[in-house]
C-alpha cells in the first residue's frame, strides 16, 4: 500500500458519500489500506462521519448572536436533515449555514421555511440566485502602495514577482523575507524567515510547501477573502516559497466547506499550470473534511497523509520532519499572500507598513459591529481604530476577542491596546488569527464563555487527556454554574477547580487547542466575575 493510496482515503470517502456501513471495507479492498484505519479516519471528520446531515448551521459566537440557534430550530421543524456545526468562516455574514459543502451567508428563518423540507432548495435570499458571494472588504482603496495584499485591487496574473524572485535567487528572497519582519499570520506569529532557512538547511532534498487554508478559528474569514479575490497572488507566493526552499510540489489544504474558494483556486492553478509560468511546479489540492484541529499544522500534515487529524508531538517541527517525514514549509494563506509584494517592493517597504510589528494585517471583525468584514490595516492598530473603519459598535462595548476563540475575552478597558502579537501576548491573550469579535453589554459572559467551551470540546481531537477530559470538564462545570449558580450543582463540581484544570490543560496538552481552550472561561472569570455570581 502506498502513501498515495492512504492520502486519497478522505477524498475517497467524500466521493462515496461519507462513512456509511460497508464503505470502509470497500475502499480497503481497492486501496489496501486497513479497513479499520479508514473507518477511524471517516469517523474523525464531521463532514464524513455524519453524511446524512446535509444542512449544518454554524453555532459560532457571531452567528449565534445573529440568531443561528433559531435558524437551526426552524430547520429542524422544517424537516431538514440538519445539525449544528462549528464556525464556518462566515462570521461577517451571519448566520452562516452549510448546504452540503457550500457556505450560504445570512440565512434567515424564512429561507429555511421556504425549502419545504427539501435541503437542496435551501438558499440565502441575501444573494441573488446563481451569484457568487463575497464578504465586505475595507477600508476604501486610497493608497495601494501601502497595502501588501490589496484585496480590492486587480489580481496580477503575470508572475512578475516570481520572475523577480528567480533573479534574486533563493538567498536573496529569504533575505528579503527576513528584512520584511514577516510573522506567520496563521496564529502563532512566528518569524517566517526562520522556517524558510530551516527547510533550506536540511540535508534531505525532497521538500514540500504546504498552504494552510483550513481557516477555522471562530471569528476568522480573511483567508477566504484572499482566495476569493486574489488567488493568483496566493499562488505566486507559493511559487516563490517553493523556489526559495527547493520544493517541486505544493500542497494546498482548503477546508471542506470552502466549495466556492476551491473552484476559484482550482481554476487559477489550471491557468498558471497551463501557462507554465512557474515551471514544473506541481500544485495538489486537498479538501478538509470538517475538523478545526486540522488547522494546527501537524494535524494538517496527518490529514494530508490520509490519517486522523491528530497533532504530532513537537519537536521535531515540520521544518525537519514534515509531510511524509520530509522537510516542509507550512504557511497560512495570508502569510503566503504577503510574499509577492515583499519580493517585488523589498523587505523594508513591508516592514514600514506596520507599527511596532511589520506589515499590514487583515483584521476580521464581526459580532456587534455595524460593518463586519475584512480590513487591511497597519499591524498594531487599536480596537478603536478598527471600529472606526468598521462603522462602530452596535450598542455599548462590553468585551471583545482580539484573535478568535483561542484568544479568550478582553474587557472594553483594553480597547486602546495595539492589536499585535506582542501587546496582546503580554496581557495573556493573543492576536492569533486576528478574528476580532465584538460583544456589547447585552451579552452574559458566562454564556459567551460556554459557547466557546462547547466549540473546543467539539473540536478537540481527543488524543491527549488534559484536553480531551479538560474541555468537557470545563464545559460541564460551567453549565453546572449556569444551572445552579456560584454554589455549584449536584455534582459538587462547579467552578472550584477551574484554575487547576486550566493550568493542567495549558501545561499538559499536546497542542495549542488544549492549551488555549480554558482561556475564554478563565478570562471571563477574571474580567467579569459578576456574570458568574447569579
Amino acid at each position: 500500500m502506498s502513501d498515495d493510496k492512504r492520502a486519497a482515503i478522505p477524498h475517497g470517502l467524500q466521493e462515496a458519500g461519507g462513512l456509511t456501513d460497508g464503505i470502509a471495507r470497500q475502499l480497503s479492498r481497492e486501496s489496501g489500506v486497513p479497513e479499520a484505519d479508514i473507518y477511524g479516519v471517516g469517523s474523525f471528520f464531521h463532514l464524513l462521519a455524519r453524511p446524512s446531515a446535509k444542512i449544518r448551521v454554524c453555532t459560532g459566537l457571531s452567528c449565534v448572536m445573529s440568531g443561528a440557534n433559531e435558524v437551526l430550530e426552524a430547520a429542524k421543524k422544517a424537516g431538514l436533515p440538519c445539525e449544528a456545526t462549528s464556525c464556518l468562516a462566515g462570521c461577517d455574514l451571519p448566520p452562516a449555514v452549510l448546504r452540503d459543502r457550500r457556505v450560504l451567508p445570512s440565512v434567515s428563518i424564512a429561507d429555511v421555511e421556504r425549502t419545504g423540507g427539501d435541503w437542496e432548495q435551501l438558499d440565502s435570499s441575501a444573494i441573488a440566485p446563481g451569484e457568487e458571494w463575497r464578504g465586505f472588504v475595507g477600508p476604501e482603496r486610497t493608497n495601494p502602495d501601502e497595502l501588501a495584499l490589496d484585496l480590492l485591487g486587480p489580481d496580477d496574473k503575470s508572475g512578475k514577482s516570481f520572475q523577480r524572485a528567480v533573479e534574486l535567487g533563493a538567498n536573496g528572497v529569504i533575505e528579503a523575507i527576513e528584512s520584511s519582519g514577516l510573522q506567520g499570520r496563521g496564529g502563532a506569529g512566528f518569524p517566517a524567515h526562520i522556517k524558510w532557512r530551516g527547510v533550506q538547511g536540511q540535508s534531505e532534498t525532497k521538500r514540500y510547501v504546504v498552504l494552510n487554508a483550513d481557516e477555522g478559528e471562530p471569528g476568522t474569514f480573511k483567508d477566504r477573502e484572499v482566495m476569493l479575490r486574489r488567488p493568483y497572488l496566493m499562488l505566486e507566493g507559493l511559487a516563490i516559497a517553493a523556489h526559495a526552499i527547493g520544493a517541486s510540489e505544493v500542497y494546498l489544504y482548503l477546508r471542506g466547506e470552502f466549495e466556492v474558494p476551491w473552484g476559484i483556486v482550482e481554476r487559477a492553478i489550471a491557468d498558471v499550470t497551463e501557462r507554465g509560468i512557474y515551471g514544473d511546479l506541481q500544485f495538489h489540492m486537498h479538501a478538509g473534511q470538517g475538523a478545526y484541529i486540522c488547522g494546527e499544522e501537524t494535524a494538517l500534515l496527518e490529514a494530508l497523509e490520509g490519517k486522523r487529524g491528530m497533532p504530532r508531538l513537537k519537536p521535531p517541527f515540520p521544518v525537519e520532519v514534515g509531510l511524509w517525514g520530509k522537510p516542509t514549509l507550512i504557511h497560512n494563506v495570508e502569510t503566503i499572500a504577503c510574499v509577492p509584494s515583499i519580493v517585488a517592493r523589498g523587505g523594508d517597504w513591508f516592514r514600514e507598513l506596520g507599527r511596532a510589528e511589520a506589515g499590514t494585517k487583515l483584521y476580521c471583525i464581526s459580532g456587534h459591529v455595524k460593518q463586519p468584514g475584512t480590513y487591511e490595516l497597519p499591524l498594531g492598530i487599536t480596537l478603536d481604530e478598527l471600529l472606526e473603519v468598521a462603522g462602530g459598535v452596535i450598542g455599548k462595548l462590553k468585551a471583545f476577542s482580539p484573535g478568535g476563540a483561542s484568544s479568550g475575552f478582553l474587557p472594553a478597558s483594553k480597547r486602546d491596546l495595539p492589536l499585535d502579537f506582542k501587546s496582546l501576548g503580554s496581557v495573556g491573550s493573543m492576536l492569533g488569527s486576528s478574528g476580532v469579535v465584538v460583544l456589547n453589554d447585552t451579552v452574559d459572559m458566562k454564556w459567551a464563555a460556554l459557547e466557546q467551551l462547547r466549540f473546543f470540546e467539539a473540536e478537540s481531537c481527543g488524543q491527549c487527556a488534559p484536553c480531551r477530559i479538560g474541555t468537557r470538564y470545563l464545559r460541564e462545570a460551567t453549565e453546572d454554574n449556569l444551572d445552579h449558580g456560584a454554589a455549584g450543582g449536584t455534582t459538587a463540581r462547579g467552578l472550584a477547580h477551574v484554575a487547576d484544570v486550566a493550568w493542567q490543560m495549558n501545561e499538559g496538552s499536546i497542542c495549542g487547542l488544549g492549551q488555549a481552550a480554558p482561556l475564554p472561561l478563565t478570562s471571563a472569570l477574571q474580567y467579569f466575575p459578576e456574570d458568574f455570581q447569579s
Binding site: 479499520a36 473507518y39 469517523s43 468537557r472 493550568w503 499538559g508
Partner: protein, 364 residues
C-alpha cells in the same frame, strides 16, 4: 563505534546511547517516571501525558517517553511543577474513570488507580459519565472492551497496527467521545482481528479484557496465582503465565486465564497468539479422560483400576513381542509431550522391549 554521552537527571549524570529517550535512561538509572501510554514494543505516542518532565531551556514540559536524550540535557523529574502536573492530570483522569476497584478491576489490575493513589492525586473533582461508545454486542468469544475504564492511551490500537500488523481496531470518533472501534463497529470476528489478545496485554487499565473470565464471574486477576509455563501448541515455545484460582474445583485449582510475561524477559517478548492466550478450555474440559479404560470381551470399554490397566497393557504388549518378535511392536510418542516423557517412551521401547521402532508423531 557506539557513542556514549551523558545527560543529567535530577542533577545526576547518566550515560546514554543515541536513540534512547529520557524514559529509557531514567529506567536504567532507577528514576521513577510514571507512564500509561508507553510500551517498549511500540513507537512513543506521548499521549497520556503522565511522563512529562522539565527539561532545562524548554518552556513546556516534555514527554520523557518520546523525547530523545541529547548531550548535556538537564532533566528534572521531581519538582513542584512536575508534582502539580501529575496531581492535576491524574485528578482530571479520575473525573472520567470509575473510582472504585470493584468496578474497574473485574479483570486485570488498573494501573491508573494505582497511580492516582501513589501520587496522592485529588479524587474529589466530581465525576463525569462515560460518553465513549461500547461494543457490548460484539459476539467474539474472547475480547471484551469496557469503554468506561478506557483512557484512550491507544496502546491497543498501536499494538494491533505496529506489532500484530492487522489493524483490526482503531481510535474512532473524536474529542471526548473518542472510543476504540472496529470497522463499522463490527464484531472482531468479522474483521482482520487474529485474536492474539495483544490489546488485552498492553491495556493499562483492563478496559480491554478477557471476556470468558468476566462472563464466568471468575476472581479478578489480583487474586490469582501466576504459574510460569510454556505454551503447549507450536514450536515457538512462548512463555505463558497460567493464572490459577487455587481454591477452585475443591482445591484442585483452575486456570482462569493466561497472560504473557513482561516484555523483554522471554522469547515471545510479551506477545502471544490466539492459541497460547485463549485456548486453555481443554484443560478443564468435561471430555477429559479421568479413569483407565480396558476393552471388554464384548468390545466395549470398561473403567478399571490403574493396576489392572497397567497389567493388561504390559501383558498385551509382551504377548505381541513374543508372538511376532521384538520388532513386531511399534512405539509412537508425541511431540506434544515433554522431553522427559519422550525419553521414557524411547527407553521403554529400546530398553524394555528391545526394539528401535520408536518415533514421534511429527515430521518437523
Amino acid at each position: 563505534m557506539i557513542q556514549e554521552t551523558q545527560i543529567r537527571i535530577n542533577g545526576e549524570k547518566h550515560s546514554f546511547r543515541p536513540g534512547e529517550t529520557i524514559l529509557d535512561v531514567a529506567g536504567r538509572a532507577g528514576v521513577e517516571i510514571p507512564t500509561l501510554c508507553h510500551d517498549p514494543r511500540l513507537k512513543p505516542a506521548g499521549a497520556c501525558r503522565t511522563c512529562l518532565v522539565e527539561v532545562e531551556g524548554q518552556r513546556k514540559l516534555l514527554p520523557a517517553c518520546a523525547t530523545p536524550a541529547t548531550t548535556d540535557m538537564a532533566v528534572v523529574s521531581e519538582s513542584e511543577r512536575v508534582d502539580r502536573h501529575r496531581k492535576t492530570l491524574l485528578a482530571l483522569y479520575a473525573t472520567d474513570h470509575p473510582s472504585n476497584r470493584e468496578a474497574s478491576e473485574r479483570g486485570a489490575p488498573d494501573e491508573l488507580l494505582d497511580m492516582i493513589e501513589n501520587y496522592r492525586a485529588p479524587t474529589d473533582w466530581g465525576a463525569m459519565a462515560s460518553v465513549r461508545a461500547n461494543r457490548h454486542d460484539d459476539r467474539n468469544p474472547y475480547i471484551h472492551f469496557e469503554p468506561d475504564t478506557c483512557i484512550l492511551c491507544a496502546r491497543c490500537t498501536r499494538y494491533c497496527d505496529e506489532v500484530e500488523a492487522v489493524s483490526a481496531i482503531t481510535l474512532a470518533g473524536r474529542g471526548s467521545e473518542t472510543t476504540i472501534s472496529t470497522v463499522d463497529g463490527l464484531s472482531l470476528l468479522d474483521t482482520s482481528c487474529e485474536m492474539c489478545g495483544g490489546c488485552i496485554d498492553v491495556c493499562p487499565t483492563g478496559a480491554m479484557g478477557e471476556k470468558m473470565p468476566l462472563t464466568r464471574g471468575d476472581k479478578p486477576e489480583r487474586e490469582l496465582e501466576k504459574v510460569r509455563s510454556t505454551c503447549n501448541f507450536c514450536g515457538v515455545g512462548c512463555q505463558v503465565d497460567l493464572n490459577v484460582d487455587r481454591e477452585a474445583d475443591d482445591g484442585a485449582g483452575r486456570i482462569v486465564k493466561v497472560t504473557s510475561p513482561p516484555t523483554g524477559t522471554t522469547t515471545n517478548d510479551g506477545n502471544l497468539c490466539v492459541k497460547g492466550r485463549f485456548a486453555y478450555d481443554f484443560v478443564h474440559h468435561p471430555d477429559r479422560l479421568k479413569v483407565p479404560l480396558v476393552r471388554g470381551a464384548d468390545g466395549e470399554f470398561y473403567e478399571t483400576s490403574w493396576e489392572d490397566a497397567l497389567q493388561k497393557a504390559a501383558a498385551g504388549l509382551q504377548g505381541v513381542s513374543e508372538r511376532h518378535g521384538k520388532n513386531g511392536l511399534g512405539f509412537v510418542s508425541s511431540s506434544r509431550c515433554t522431553v522427559e516423557e519422550n525419553y521414557l517412551v524411547q527407553k521403554l521401547s529400546r530398553a524394555v522391549f528391545g526394539t528401535n521402532n520408536v518415533h514421534q508423531c511429527a515430521a518437523t
